[in-house]
Amino acid sequence: MRPGLAHDILDLTSEHLILVLTAMAIACAIGVPLGILLTRRARWRAPVLGVANILQTIPSLALFGFLIPLPLIGGIGPRTAIVALVVYALLPILRNTLAGILGVDGAVRESATAMGMTPAQILREVELPLAARTILAGIRIATVTTIGTATIAAAIGGGGLGVFIFRGVASVDTVQILAGAVPAALIALISDGGLGWIERKFSA
């Protein structure tokens, strides 16, 4: 092992984690409430999901590139990278929130209404708990994808484990590539397992 490599791995891994966690926090903060809103506004569903779908199809390297010239959210560095990651994470969260809530048994919702629950109480006590598992599944998928996609952040100076990979590709250095790829894969596996475990806790 090269001197300092272990230290670099730790540094870049923590950069990577910060990228992913920030992006996921923002994506959840937008995606879950927007998904809930869409369950109440049937007419907005198709257009909003359409936009999210189109954003999802933009190749990730291209999306990072598109963002660079934009004011405020653009430029070089982690901020731009986070914006791009949020865009990618949004669709699975949005779609699963919508599917989870719309999937709640109509008879259950009707009896909640008939018992005199307010719409806020129905959301908090009935819809969200019953949709929790599906929503968490969306968050899990988004997290795993984001961990992989975040390696591209290095292309626009966003840092993270992608730095190793790009450096390794440029210098045809397999050790460098592995130093980026293996920790990224490990983080993805651990997140998938952990979030899957939480998800199963909600299988009531």
Partner: protein
């Protein structure tokens, strides 16, 4: 007119105050289809009116107007002397117990939590809720020591339906609505649950609107029977007179009763 009625409930003649539920010329139209037409009847305090009819006769639609899940497109439904559109729907619904065929129990709540929902929403203290849940579960034959901590999926259909009835009664609402509550049960369980329910209903003296397509159930549970056909009230008779009703639809229902007995 509405404002006056609202302000003067106390001055109305006795028989009108006593009409807990009143449908006046109620119609319901959806997408140009007439589901209910000119429906007029009332249910007096403590009485049970059974709305009997085939599938699609509009009986469930009528029922859902009482707790404002649906609003009439013409005419008026009034509850305790006040039109449903003048009630705060949340307040109105807390005064009405509602039991449906699919039970609508919350799958993520225990049996005890399901029964305690409305008392909790009404802000009862913990101990009072627990005592009430105990009392009701014992009453429907599911002692809370054994069943309180189970989830609905761990119960049989008949047990779930009993929990549904207990839940509707929990906050002691003056009005009860039943929509084919025993329809999904096998004949034996159905008979059992119905018999228990009849005993319970007699004790409680609630004002009840009960929807069914089963004429035997109607005769057993009702004080009066309203026969609905294609959204119109064909007959509105006390149970004894209904047995002798002559209209084609009534005869059709009574006939299936006698053919049942021959079997």
């Amino acid at each position: 007119m509405r404002g006056r009625r609202k302000g003067q409930v106390g001055d109305l003649p006795y028989h009108q105050v006593n009409q807990v539920l009143r449908f006046s010329k109620v119609g319901y139209r959806v997408n140009g289809r007439e589901v209910l037409r000119d429906l007029t009847f009332e249910v007096e305090k403590g009485q049970t009116l059974v709305l009997l009819g085939r599938s699609g006769s509009g009986k469930t639609t009528a029922l859902k107007m009482v707790n404002a899940l649906l609003t009439p497109t013409s005419g008026e439904v009034s509850v305790e002397g006040r039109a449903t559109i003048e009630w705060n729907p949340i307040e109105l619904r807390r005064r009405i117990g509602y039991v449906i065929q699919e039970t609508g129990l919350f799958p993520h709540f225990t049996v005890a939590a399901n029964v305690g929902v409305v008392p909790r929403l009404n802000g009862w203290p913990q101990e009072r809720i627990a005592a009430r849940v105990d009392e009701l579960l014992t009453r429907v034959g599911l002692p809370s020591k054994e069943f309180g901590q189970r989830y609905p999926r761990e119960l049989s259909g008949g047990q779930r339906q009993r929990v549904g009835v207990a839940r509707a009664l929990a906050a002691d609402p003056p009005i009860l609505l039943f929509d084919e509550p025993f329809g999904a049960l096998d004949p034996v369980t159905r008979h059992e649950v119905r018999r228990e329910y009849t005993a319970l209903a007699r004790d409680l003296g609630k004002t009840t609107l009960f929807v069914t397509h089963d004429v035997r159930e109607a005769l057993e549970l009702g004080d009066r029977i309203g026969l609905l056909a294609s959204g119109r009230l064909e007959e509105l008779l006390p149970v004894n007179e209904f047995r002798r009703a002559q209209s084609a639809e009534a005869s059709a229902f009574l006939e299936c009763l006698s053919s049942d007995q021959n079997n």
